[in-house]
Amino acid sequence: MIQNVWLIPAFPLAAFLINALFGRRWLKQWTGPLAAAAIAASAVVAIGVFLEVHAGALRTTVPLYTFISVADFHVDVAALVDPLSSAMLLMVTVISFLIHVYAIGYMAHDHGFWRFFSWFPLFVFAMLILVLADNYLVMFVGWEGVGLCSYLLIGFWFERPEPAGAAKKAFVMNRIGDWGFTIGMITTFLVFGSMNFVDVFDRVAKDPPAQGVLSLICLAFFLGATGKSAQLPLYSWLPDAMEGPTPVSALIHAATMVTAGVYLVARSTPLFAAAGPVLAAVGGVGALTAIFAATIALVQFDIKRVMAYSTVSQLGYMFLALGVGAPIAAMFHLITHAFFKALLFLGSGSVIHGIGDVQDMRRMGGLRSKMPLTYWTMVIAGGALAALPPLAGFWSKDEILGSAFKNGYPILWVVGVFTGGLTAFYVTRAIWLTFHGQPRDRQLFEHAHESPRVMTVPLLVLAAGSVLVGFIGFPPDNGFLHAFLRPAIEAAGAVAETGTDWPAFLIFAAISTAVGVGGILLGLSMYSRGRPEPAAMSRAAGPYYDVLVNKYYVDELYDRRLVDVAKAFAGAAWAFDIHIIDGLVNRLGWAIKLGGSGLRRAQTGIVGNYALSIVAGLLLVMIVYGGYATGWLHR
């Protein structure tokens, strides 16, 4: 099966080509099932590959062809199949399949149906290339490819102005990150003479380069990761990306693409482990992002934006884990998060779909009775996000926090636990505002309906995942996932095998569960007795509330100030071009004209004058020639 690993991206690519070429005229509504079937085929192959890796095929390279070969610059298009990539392949194909099925229902009435199901599998293709790559260059092809599909799908409803702006913002911010990725990739090549993961990591182990160079490489890659995974300072495109259709938000902006940065750093563990201080910076940025985004999520009223900030925050946890030297915990959280956050988004989508494209929670309320399936699955997902035992998020997040404490980062642990309380609060708030209490918009409520089965079945499957997936990491620190991933990461000597430390686990679990339950209770106590008026909140919380509602004014800073600075640069360049480059040419033309009319006076028509000038010229030439010949003028 491993030798056929290229089939996994080939199916979605084929679906893209067929739907893009024949979708509009002929396939129409069949584009959706076709795309879903293609992803299902990929998932089947991915399961086969996963089983084979589990059976002991620890590292296989499957080459396809040579991409570039010049002098020592040699890059193959090849797949690296190891535990890390096979786990990602499995997660990406399974989640993609579920969301494709869901989207068949969600997008059913959209006139861009075929367009949606052309770009959606194209995204999956690019994501799979990113995951499969055995070197940084091919990874970059997938990396930019997912960015492109994200751009296309955020701007899917291009007739409205917001999606168009959000799409451009997402792409440009990602390109700033890609600037970093490119620098990291090229520096890696110059330092190690290769972009191949295996070669580079071997060389780091045997003959590490100077600390400074290594730090530069890792910082550059991390800048790329912050762009793709929406970390500080390049996070602000992700909330705006919610302008895209909800399945897009679930697949691209929650479960898969935004985790690419985590995958990149986890894949590069040997590099980062050797770079020392940079790794601590990764953890610090992650923790800061986690708490920063969670506080913003506290006061959002758009249900999708709550989930978006929540995603930013949870990705922060993953970087925190990477930073404290627990890449397996990061991958664990990546996988559990993919399930419960995809579910939260799809559940939100089900609500939005059921009440007619309204996303403002202030107009919802009481929907529990109308959409029981959506409600219960979202409660499960919310519990997993709030890290209640024994749901999936509990195991993975607790492992991250435990690792932070044990590996000597108590401050990050405190931040993480506190953020856990905030998380529990905002998810309680979101679910309560949506499903409980009195309906706040009668008309919407009357027309609300549960979603069709094609949408609810994926919800149920994801809900089952949100309950069960946590057990791949059980017992803590020593579960199936740890045993499976350890060879891929330990080959670099980054992670030591540890047994389960039950007493410590129980203490940490008790503390973070208590904080989580506290957050939930606080949320319930505030919202169950009726919705607090924002005005009252504003009075009570004072300026903090305003700061949060305005998202720390970062959008103002980025979209106004920084863009203004960039525009000023372009404006200065334009002025220079008009006045100096172009202006000088005009001035030159004017000077030549002036010179011409001056010289015209020399054209006297008197032969004597001409003869005189010829003689003068001749003399000049002779003097210069003579000077050169005698070496007098030479130097």
């Binding site: 509009r24 010049v70 490819g145 168009a164 600037w179 480059i581």
Partner: protein, 467 residues
């Protein structure tokens, strides 16, 4: 093969002297395609042409009619054939078509001549000969302000050429030969290399153009008839790239090495500067002009670094820019036919013309270096070489990654996004047939860049012709 690429367009030009009327355009398209196919087949078969000596042309000064092609000439010749075919096909409805296509084919012959000349005098003759049909095409068939723009372009280019001629004479007198084959073995005194390289570069960088010699560029792209702007950007700019790589680098290695720090700095600045200017444009053709300034400066950066990585990058990026810019000009014309002008910003074409939008998006993304298209590998090789040369230059040059996204996406948004305005039909089959083959090549080169890149290593074949 080297002779064929001259004879085919010359034959077409001659045929246009006959009263063939409406046949002129298909003939010109055929001429372009035939040249491209001839070269491609010959390259596939390992380059043709009976090895023999060249014709003596102007014996007393030692000039010969020496023709030949190495791998990079072949790549550029294929590009020339394709671009001229596409441009001819897009030249519908021109006044006095026979005159137009006669000049058009002469232009093609002269451009091809630059790529196959194996003698400096012949090279210079072709280099200059393309000016006449180019200027006439702009002068007679151009848009508003065409006379002033043509004059400006002529003055700029001829000033460069005067210096080039001085350089050629100086080199030829010193070396007592003009043949490339002999010159590459000739060791020029180190002291005079810088001066000579400067004289040659003066002409090459004006035509490329390199910052700050680009004052003719955006006006020419806007004022020239669209097919002429297409070949101007796609192929004629590449004569300068080719000349830098084929003449300056091998003949004045010392001079280029001495000038490189300044030239590299200028090219890097130009790459970012052109991109910044492109973000300010509201006319599609002007945007393409400044984007080309940015990308051609980037290519020049690679040429000045001139390691083997960089030169392979230069070849891939040149072919890529040629293909992409040809597609972009064709698509810009399609858009202009629908919205009535080349101005953009109103948007709204997406729902009316989804296929046009898809093709346009592919072309723009390729142009801004999206991996998977031909725009990426060349850029990456040049960038790697730039980092190898100096990290500071690399960091600065890599900024084009961000700047290009800003102008590229701004263009897409300004034409296509937003509420639907007016009535427009989608791109027709005739227009598709022009653009899609180019974009297929763009993606093919992006997926397998080796096909072009390896040509950079292909040595020159022996000159063809008989005494």
């Amino acid at each position: 093969m080297a002779l064929d690429v001259l004879l085919i367009p010359l034959g077409v030009a001659l045929a246009c002297a006959l009263p063939i009327g409406g046949l002129a355009r298909p003939l010109a398209v055929l001429g372009g395609l035939l040249s491209a196919v001839t070269v491609a087949l010959a390259t596939w078969a390992g380059m043709g042409g009976a090895p023999a000596d060249a014709y003596v042309w102007a014996g007393p000064i030692g000039a010969r009619l020496a023709l030949g092609a190495d791998g990079s000439s072949a790549a550029f010749l294929v590009l020339t054939g394709l671009s001229f075919a596409a441009g001819a096909a897009a030249s519908g409805g021109m006044r006095s078509p026979r005159a137009y296509f006669a000049l058009w084919s002469l232009l093609q012959a002269a451009v091809s001549g630059v790529f196959v000349a194996r003698d400096l005098i012949l090279f210079f003759a072709c280099w200059e000969a393309l000016l006449a049909p180019l200027a006439l095409l702009m002068w007679h068939w151009g848009g508003a302000d065409r006379r002033a723009v043509t004059l400006r372009l002529l003055l700029y280019w001829m000033a460069g050429s005067a210096l080039l001629l001085t350089g050629i004479v100086a080199l030829g007198v010193g070396a007592r030969t003009f043949a490339f084959a002999d010159l590459s073995g000739y060791r020029l005194a180190e002291g005079s290399q810088v001066t000579l390289a400067l004289l040659f570069l003066a002409a090459f960088t004006v035509r490329l153009p390199l910052f700050p010699f680009h004052a003719w560029l955006s006006r020419a792209y806007v004022a020239a008839p669209l097919p002429v702007a297409l070949v101007l950007s796609s192929v004629i700019s590449k004569t300068a790239v080719y000349a830098i790589v084929r003449i300056c680098v091998p003949f004045f290695p010392r001079g280029i090495a001495d000038l490189a720090p300044y030239a590299i700095a200028i090219a890097t600045v130009g790459a970012v500067y052109g991109g910044l200017l492109a973000t300010r444009q509201r006319d599609t053709r002007a945007l393409i002009a400044y984007a080309s300034l940015s990308q051609l400066s980037f290519i020049a950066l690679g040429a000045f670094i001139s390691t083997s990585d960089a030169l392979q990058g230069v070849l891939i990026a040149s072919v890529s820019h040629g293909l992409i810019v040809a597609a972009l000009f064709l698509l810009a014309a399609s858009v202009a036919r629908r919205v009535g002008s080349f101005e953009f910003g109103a948007g709204g074409l997406a729902s009316r013309a989804p296929v046009l939008m898809s093709l346009f998006v592919i072309a723009v993304l390729a142009s801004i270096g999206m991996p998977g298209t031909s725009g990426a590998p060349g850029e990456l090789l040049i960038l790697a070489a730039a980092f190898g040369r100096s990290p500071g230059i690399g960091l600065l040059a890599a900024l084009v990654i961000v700047v290009s996204a800003v102008y590229g996406l701004g263009l897409i948004r300004g034409i296509f996004f937003g509420p639907s305005t007016g009535r427009a039909t989608d791109i027709g089959w005739r227009e598709r047939a022009l653009v899609i083959p180019l974009l297929v090549l763009v993606i093919a080169v992006g997926v397998a860049p080796r096909v072009v890149g390896d040509l950079a290593e292909r040595p020159a074949d022996a000159p063809v012709g008989a005494r």
